[in-house]
């Protein structure tokens, strides 16, 4: 019984724990969703591996306040993100823009995967070829 009550209290207080702002959620659920998305994508520059939704730094609070005010003023997501990059540069975005200077960054995972696959295919082929024309093992016992 006590355990159930405890659980109930904990569950009831969970939303308060999620909300980092004392202002509470925005009235319009659509705006609140955009607010959460935007603050989730903006980097807190004081504590660089946190986004401003997570951070309790004063600057993160100020930036959340800006996002909130700008949403309420009817600005688009793009306008708000531009506002941030105009001041703090691309670094403030957790999702870098698709500008030409970032192409290498975006392509890097695919390129590295490609190189890895290429090396692996080569290694397997060599192994198979060796296994086919000579069945005796490598003298040193090493694979290559």
């Amino acid at each position: 019984m006590i355990r159930a009550l405890f659980l109930l209290v904990m569950l009831a207080s969970a939303p308060a724990a999620i909300a980092i702002d004392k202002e509470g959620p925005l009235e319009d659920p659509a705006l609140q969703a955009r607010y959460e998305q935007l603050t989730w994508e903006l980097r807190c520059l004081v504590c660089q591996n946190q986004n401003i939704a997570d951070s309790n730094a004063d600057l993160a609070k100020d930036l959340r306040k800006q996002v909130r005010a700008r949403l309420l003023a009817g600005e688009t997501d793009e306008q708000i993100l531009n506002y941030m990059t105009d001041r703090y540069g691309d670094f403030v975005l957790y999702r870098p823009s698709l500008a030409p200077k970032n192409w290498l960054l975006w392509a890097a995972p695919v390129l590295l995967l490609g190189i890895g696959v290429w090396l692996m295919v080569g290694a397997v082929r060599r192994q198979v070829a060796r296994g086919a024309d000579e069945s005796k093992p490598d003298e040193t016992g090493n694979a290559s």
Binding site: L45, V46, Q48, D58, L59, D62, L63, Q66, T85, D86, R87, Y88, G89, F91
Partner: protein, 176 residues
């Protein structure tokens, strides 16, 4: 031959990349303001709430804008450097008092000395956001046309001032 050269080349490339990486400071975010007009603002002065100071004051002469606060340890560290720069008369320093309390800030200036021509009072940090401030102390160099030329993050030292800021100031002055 390739068997030896290729790993060596890859290794060499990695050494170069990592060596460069070691010299970069990830906490130093390049300011997008460099080469752009200083963000305009209008704030009450620290000393007299009835008076205002704004970006107009940064026009007409090469000047420094120093973002400071009494809670900021780095600001205390660089304070003597600022005093020395002010005394040398090399360049006027304007202050942007950031997220601070007026009395504490005035007290600080009275106690330690006031290197600023004037300080703007920005208790809620809204002007500081326009300047892309994220960690006091920060120092901006603004040219006579009101264009931001350089930004230094962290405490100023005489060495940094002489090697990084003074050459730009001299160059800006000879251009005119």
């Amino acid at each position: 031959m390739l068997k030896f050269l290729l790993p060596l080349a890859v290794f060499g490339l990695m050494v170069l990349v990592f060596f460069r990486g070691l010299q970069l400071d990830p906490s130093e975010v390049p300011s997008p303001l460099i080469g752009k007009p200083a963000p305009s603002f209008e704030l009450p002065t620290l000393r007299d709430p009835a008076q205002t100071i704004g970006s107009d004051a940064l026009q007409g002469e090469v000047s420094l804008l120093n973002v400071w606060a009494t809670w900021c340890v780095g600001c205390r560290q660089e304070h003597n450097t600022l005093l020395a720069i002010a005394e040398s008369g090399e360049v006027p320093i304007f202050g942007l008092n950031y997220r601070d309390e007026r009395n504490a800030a005035l007290n600080w200036l009275d106690r330690l000395g006031d290197p600023y021509v004037a300080s703007a009072y920005d208790p809620d940090g809204q002007v500081a956001i326009d300047w892309g401030v994220y960690g006091a102390p920060e120092t901006f160099l603004i040219d006579a046309n009101g264009i931001v030329r350089f930004k230094h993050l962290g405490p100023l030292t005489p060495l940094i001032f002489e090697t990084k800021i003074l050459p730009i100031i001299r160059e800006l002055r000879t251009q005119r």
